[in-house]
């Protein structure tokens, strides 16, 4: 029997009455699976994440999340120059009483998770001196130290260079495989979804969504309809493995005319 951790039934949300961001969404997400959410800007991806995090009540339908979801924002917006250690320690807020500060056990858990991500040497470094990829790892570590069993990431690879994109995707895959974490992330890159996601949700307008195994959902026709741009699946061999990349067809007037 599949251990289900997220179940959305007839889910809908609007900011203004009768202007639905989405409605009628039905999703069932199994424990340990990796889900990619794709959709054009304004399709409601972040709104969906907020509902799953319990920060927005749905306007329609129900949402059941059976485990604590940890959030990893796109670019963590931090006003002050906190150290890496201080940032991760904030993950303990749920476990620390209102009038208390974190104790020895909280600090032990922080050290443990920093060690797990290889961040111990950076523990006293200011958060803003880290690379984009390291910052994302710090925020993932913060979610784990909070006891998250579901990780919800908002465009975790946006504004990262290729090496950092690969590092974050590898960590997503590793956390799912080794810790049986359920991971749900939004992305604009179908290739990233095809590499790590078991299932994909395509959000394309208020009542237009597709949810299913990534191999079935991620095809040229679905993606073309989603983004309004020609998409091509490119197959290639890498280290003896069949690989597939899904790319938008971007044309340059000067080059296509030459």
């Amino acid at each position: 029997m599949i251990d289900r951790v997220i179940r959305c039934t007839d889910l809908g949300y609007f900011y203004r009455p009768n202007e639905w961001v989405f409605r009628g969404y039905n999703l069932e997400i199994a424990k340990g699976s990796v889900i990619a959410v794709l959709g054009p800007n304004g399709a409601g991806k972040t709104t969906l994440l907020k509902i799953l995090l319990g920060l927005l009540p749905p306007r329609q339908g129900t949402v059941e999340v059976s485990m604590y979801p940890g959030f990893v924002p796109q670019i963590s917006d931090v006003t002050f120059d906190y150290s890496v250690n201080d940032m991760v320690l904030m993950g303990r807020a749920r476990s620390v009483a209102l009038w208390r500060s974190p104790g020895a056990e909280d600090r032990r858990l922080v050290n443990e998770v920093l060690e797990h991500f290889g961040l111990t040497p950076l523990a006293r470094r200011p958060f803003h001196e880290l690379s984009g990829g390291q910052r994302q790892l710090v925020i993932i570590a913060r979610a784990l130290v909070a006891g998250a069993e579901i990780l919800i990431l908002d465009e975790p690879t946006a504004s990262l260079d290729f090496a950092n994109q690969r590092m974050i995707l590898e960590w997503i895959e590793k956390l799912s495989r080794e810790r049986n974490l359920t991971v749900l992330f939004t992305t604009h890159d179908p290739y990233h979804a095809s590499v790590v996601a078991d299932q994909v949700l395509l959000m394309n307008g208020p009542s237009d969504f597709i949810f299913g195994p990534s191999a079935e959902v991620l095809n040229d026709a679905n993606l073309q309809s989603l983004y309004g741009v020609d998409m091509r699946t490119v197959s290639f061999l890498h280290n003896g493995l069949d690989m597939t990349a899904i790319l938008p067809v971007l044309t340059s007037r000067s080059k296509s005319g030459s």
């Binding site: 907020k50 995090l53 920060l55 979801p69 940890g70 959030f71 924002p73 963590s76 917006d77 931090v78 006003t79 002050f80 120059d81 906190y82 150290s83 201080d86 904030m90 993950g91 807020a93 749920r94 620390v96 209102l98 009038w99 208390r100 500060s101 974190p102 006293r124 470094r125 200011p126 958060f127 803003h128 001196e129 913060r142 909070a146």
Partner: protein, 350 residues
């Protein structure tokens, strides 16, 4: 700059070490403050009088000038100054963290302008000194409550909306202060109002000590207990909520505690600018931005700074110089030196 040099006193050990140094400086400064002044008093006399006075049970000795100068004039004054400095420093650090804004000070809620109006109104209407203090305190509370109420009309405007409303209501109360001044008798109440508004501790007595100590003993420990959680308020709202913080309740809780502190300070000494705004910047450059380390250091620095300024205010000339003139005119060059040497450390600059 290497990360090891990031803060002058780094981590818990560093901040505790700095705070111990600060406490030693403060204690020394307290004794110096009791000694200096136009009436000469020796250290031996200070120690003897302090040691022989039962706590809150001063033996009246109206014929002993040294006792009068120390017990009735200097001691309440230095105690009020210390408490106000600590309250303002801590309040500023809490408000800058809560509103994620380096330009914010404790007066941003409108409390200072409203309390100033209350005090000026009390003097205009001929209230007793205690009535004037009560009026300032009550109007300070009204100022913050008004800012909370008006900003709640547009809940999606967030912290910026609150700051904007605070500035606007602050301007309104400043205009009302101007109105009170224009109605005041130029020969009698107007000079009192103007002098009171400039801020000063010349009239400090044990009643003032009790008012500020009462506010500090309630709001100070509560703010310190909340200080680690203020870190969460400096994240984005979604981020903080996802970590389990009740952002709205926490923010208004901090505002209420700061209002209590600032209303008490303004009611006994008039408006004292600069300390709540700049001291947290100094403290952040020294121990870093983490609020459970920042708030105690801001309180200590606020007390040391204001006590130093008050010592200057009562010794530089024959008459007391209004304290706000000194806090800003000496604080601004100091801040520029820190700013140049340390590049306003503590705030993230992407």
């Amino acid at each position: 700059m290497s990360s090891k040099e990031k803060w002058i006193f780094d981590g818990w050990v560093g901040s505790v070490a700095f705070n111990l140094v600060l406490l030693t400086v403060l204690f020394t400064l307290l004794l110096v403050s009791l000694k200096i002044g136009r009436y000469p008093v020796s250290v031996g006399q200070i120690v003897h009088i302090l040691a022989s006075t039962p706590f809150l049970n001063a033996k009246r000795d109206g014929t002993n000038t040294v006792w009068i100068v120390l017990e009735l004039i200097r001691l309440p004054r230095v105690l009020v100054v210390c408490l106000c400095g600590a309250a303002l420093g801590m309040s500023g650090a809490a408000m800058q963290g809560t509103f994620r804004n380096p330009l914010v000070g404790p007066e941003i809620t409108g409390v200072t302008a409203a309390a100033s109006f209350g005090g000026a109104l009390g003097i205009l209407l001929g209230f007793s000194p205690l009535g004037t203090v009560a009026s300032a305190f009550a109007w300070g509370m009204v100022g913050t409550a008004g800012t909370l109420l008006v900003s709640s009309l547009a809940p999606r405007s967030g912290t910026l909306g609150f700051i904007l409303v605070g500035v606007i209501l602050g301007a309104l109360f400043s205009a009302l202060v101007g109105l009170v001044e224009s109605l005041a008798d130029p020969a009698t109440s107007l000079p009192n109002i103007v002098y009171w508004l400039l801020g000063g501790f010349g009239s400090a007595d044990y009643r003032s000590v009790a008012i500020v100590a009462g506010a500090v003993s309630v709001a100070g420990p509560l703010l310190l207990l909340l200080s680690w959680r203020i870190n969460l308020l400096s994240l984005s709202q979604t981020d903080a909520q996802s970590l389990g913080a009740n952002v709205t309740a926490l923010r208004w809780g901090v505002v209420a505690l700061v209002t209590l502190l600032v209303a008490a300070q303004v009611s006994v000494s008039g408006g004292v600018g600069w300390v709540g705004f700049v001291i947290p910047h100094f403290a952040r450059m020294i121990v870093g931005p983490e609020h459970s380390r920042l708030l105690p250091t801001s309180a200590g620095l606020g007390a040391v700074y204001l006590l130093t300024m008050d010592d200057l205010a009562r010794t530089l000339s024959r008459q007391d110089i209004p304290i706000s003139l000194l806090t800003a005119s000496i604080g601004a060059p100091l801040f520029i030196v820190f700013f140049w040497r340390l590049q306003i450390r503590g705030w993230s600059r992407d």
